[in-house]
Amino acid sequence: MSYDEHDDETFRERIDANPRPALIWIVGLIVLLAVELGRIVDGIIALGGAIRFALSGIAAGPSWIGDNVAGTLGSAVGTGAMILTALLLLAIAGSLVKTIFVPGSPLKRLGYDIDQTKQTIDLLDRLFLTAILAVIALLAITSPFSGVLESGINGLTRGLESVSSLPTITGRETISNEGHRTPGGGWEGTFLGLSPAWAWALRVLVVYAYAFVALAWLWKGYTIFREHYREADWTPRDDSINRFRNHYWGIFGLIIVFMFVVMAIWAPALGPVDAEHNLYSPYEHEFEYLDDDTVVSTTHGTANLQSQSQGGESTIGLMSYDDFDRWAPFGTNQDGKDLFTFLVFGARTSLVIGVTAIGLATAIALAMSLITAYYKGLVDTLTIITSDTIISIPAFLLVLLLSVIFQQANHPIADVYNGGLLLALIFAGIYWPGLWRSIRGPSLQVAEQEWVDAAKSYGQTPAMTMRKHMAPYIATYIMIYASLLLGGVIIATAALSFLGLGINPPTPEWGRMVSDGRSYVSTTSWHIATIPGIMIVFVVTGFNALGDGIRDAMDPESDTGTSDAGAAASGGGG
């Protein structure tokens, strides 16, 4: 946060004065990062790809609009529209860059002393950054530079990719469970010659151990900061954290949620088989197994056909090997695919959709609540009307409606992530009004506080006032509702997929697993539907528990000082 920037200096001084704890912690952090470097870089590359995808989507906007306008109004107007859209996008980007990356005024820093209001200077700064971005954008598309840029990016990606292929402690290759029996009775190809089951179990253990150690190390970092480097002996947040630490239901929720997140992040490492090999293109990947004392190889697809769980004797149930000596901890599904692998990648799907949807909805709700509480009046009324309109339609119906429309129309968005992105966007659009409504009371209350007036009285800008004096209070509330709602989104996604409308195959999704397995519930293949069902219940309960924990930890009523509640009650007196 830029308003803390002025304390950086002293923070550095404090570390200089007593560097030992910080150094120890940093060394630990480096070790932790180093053993998983390949995976982290992999994540960065994936993130870069997603950003690139989003950027290219946005960059295609102007010409798309230009083409559309040109189609109806002629090419000159079309070009105008394209330029306008491009400028608008650049201006938005400029503002974002200004608020997120550039503290203070870049113009002032360059030595221009402008005798204007903060707002005007701010505007000028934004224009300045927009202009810079425009120049960069122009350079990026003109021929000599675009080539340089392209090769630069490619070089970078290649470099990163070579790093990402480094072995990691949780990698499939490090502790491999894929191998075949030897005629002598042992195993070949697996880690230390262990049986695939044990090798896999060991890998899962390492993944979770690593994740919990990393979490503990972060917590350790916080306590080191709190003990050695923070100037304040006490902050209001300490009380909340202490309260949360004694809130066992909340901690239970946190652990469940954390394990779910780890499952999603380390999905490739957790599955006993490689998802690409077993789920997505099973006929293009072969593996070896021992058949009557000879090691032969076959494709996963062929093998899967004989490992299907469709009730009866042939079912591959929990904790068992199939006929090809592939270890299936949760059995296989009706197509013979490994259920556990399916499950962990399904966790990824749920998490991505949930986080995207709730992240967007929260951002919209927070921004709207700040603006409506600060300015009130017309904006408030319009937002009420909009949100009431959306809320008045049953949410699930609306989701159904929208997803059917988009999928029937074959809109390009419906293809991204097999409909996952579309679903996330729909959820965000439908859930923000509810979120906004739930935090409207608190935000109106905080806007009435005298410190907001005080900020106005010494000329603080509205944007900064909202960010500094209102947002921290509202964020508390929105976190509670967001974590409750995240469970809701996971259920809704599952329900939609159950109905065949959410996430299309082949992207794994828990709701579809339940749907696919429901006809086998009374047979020996009961696990196909039951396990994902239980997982959904667990995760949703986890999110609810976490929300409860946060609420009890942050609840102003239970604050040590009574002043929060008192201020709310007596605010605006006089």
């Binding site: 902050t235 005298e450 106005k456 009285s457 500094k468 605006g572």
Partner: protein, 452 residues
């Protein structure tokens, strides 16, 4: 040295002032200032007239008290002076610059000179920020010098208001009400303002710390040459700190003059009433207490004439009724207030149906009201006759006609015309009351005869 930042500016503004201002002493000139709050939405367009035409001067270096019951508009007036509310009309001249006209850069610069201390120290400090961040924020906003110098300045200020430098990294939760108010004061001082509005700065504090904070404010005034507008609902607080006092009622200033004089020899009937409400420290002194009846009128519908006319103990009465019993006058007033309430109350459809059926659970019949008010009074026949006519109007559900009739009969100058400001002493004390006109007996005299 902490005085550095605005010294040059201050000098410059001094020059301006000498050039432009002939009345050398005056710092703030308020002229016919009005601040209305818009009515609640489309259905209720009548604005609340929180400040309804006030004019006064604040002299450089003085402390002007602003006293009144809660809801009289004093806080709104204070907030308008520092441009936290925008004025509906009138002027606020700071050294001949009209603050109501400022916007943009000028307003931002001007804000440095006019600051406000809030009433509730719990609500005026953002308790997610450290004391340092809170006090430093104005400096950050105005990009004052380097971060290191800002921190130093804040620590000096904490010293100045009687806190410790180490408190920089503490949070508001860790402080008592009095200390929090000191922090609030330190924050207003960061920008070196010339003028500070103190909005009931001690009324939320324990009596034991009130005096400390008041002393601090006085010390700061001496040290930095500050000018204060001290808002209070309590005359006794004002008595010690203020050079002059303005008494406010329902959006108007009723009386304004030097503190000593105003306390020892109040001119306006409202000031009289307020003063007589202060408990006498010496119980042996027999004091004739003037009791005010009723509550202040709704500022959405202020009375037509003098704002105080609905409750004034010295109201001008028509000659023929001058000698009616005081108690009867009070009852007549109450009657009018009841009818005004009824006139304003919106009646729902159900209420109307009930009325048609002869049931009126909400208001009670006029006979019941009369019973309540006049049963134990000896009502002269001429008054009785009028009351009968009034009752007829009310029975016909025409409160407006009833009120008109009462006003025509029992009203006087106070209710038909707003008074003017009369200078009531050679110190220039002003009072807003018809009774200072030569045609009437003075408030003093009237109160003496009526309330002995």
């Amino acid at each position: 040295m902490s005085q550095e930042p605005t010294r040059t500016e201050r000098a410059a503004s001094d020059d301006d002032r000498i050039d432009a201002d002939t009345d050398e002493d005056v710092m703030v000139k308020v002229r016919n200032l009005r601040t209305y709050y818009e009515g609640g939405g489309l259905l209720n367009p009548t604005p609340v007239k929180a400040v309804d035409g006030v004019s006064f001067d604040i002299r450089r270096g003085e402390t002007l008290g602003l006293v009144g019951e809660s809801g009289c508009g004093k806080t709104t007036l204070g907030r308008t002076l520092v441009q936290l509310e925008s004025a509906t009309g009138g002027e606020i001249l700071f050294d001949d610059v009209d603050a109501t006209e400022l916007s943009g850069t000028e307003l931002e610069k001007w804000r440095r000179n006019a600051q406000i201390v809030f009433q509730d120290p719990d609500s005026s400090l953002n308790d997610r920020m450290t004391i340092g961040e809170i006090v430093r924020e104005p400096l950050d906003v105005h990009d004052w010098k380097t971060p290191r110098e800002r921190r130093q300045r804040v620590q000096e200020l904490l010293d100045t208001v009687g806190l410790q430098r180490e408190h920089y990294y503490r949070y508001p939760h860790q402080f008592s009400g009095g200390q929090r108010q000191r922090i609030g004061i330190a924050r207003t001082l960061t920008l070196e303002p010339d003028f500070i509005v103190l909005d009931e700065p001690v009324s939320a504090l324990d009596v034991s710390v009130q005096a400390e904070v008041i002393n601090l404010l006085e010390d700061l005034q001496d040290e930095f040459g500050l000018t204060y507008l001290f808002i209070a609902h309590d005359l006794s607080v004002v008595k010690h700190i203020c050079d002059r006092v303005a008494v406010m009622y329902l959006g108007h200033i009723m009386e304004l003059g030097p503190t000593e004089e105003l306390f020892s020899d109040p001119a306006n009937p409202y000031t009289h009433s307020l003063l007589s409400a202060i408990p006498e420290p010496d119980p042996t002194v027999e004091k004739d207490r003037i009791r005010l009846h009723g509550t202040p009128p709704n500022p959405r519908h202020p009375p037509e004439g003098c704002p105080f006319s609905t409750r004034c103990p010295a109201r001008i009465r028509p000659d023929e009724y001058e000698h009616l019993d005081n108690e009867l006058w009070t009852r007549l007033n109450t009657l009018r207030e009841v009818l005004r309430e009824r006139e304003r109350a919106d009646r729902t459809v159900t209420d109307r149906i009930r009325e048609l059926l002869g049931k009126d659970p909400r208001f009670g019949t006029i006979d019941e009201i009369y019973d309540e008010l006049f049963a134990d009074q000896s009502v002269p026949s001429n008054v009785d006759a009028i009351l009968e006519e009034v009752a007829d109007h009310v029975r016909a559900n025409d409160e407006t006609a009833a009120l008109d009739q009462l006003k025509a009969e029992f009203g006087g100058a106070c209710e038909s015309e707003p008074p003017e400001y009369y200078t009531v002493s050679d110190t220039g004390r002003q009072s807003f009351c018809h009774r200072h006109d030569d045609g009437y007996r003075s408030p003093d005299e009237v109160l003496n005869t009526r309330h002995r």
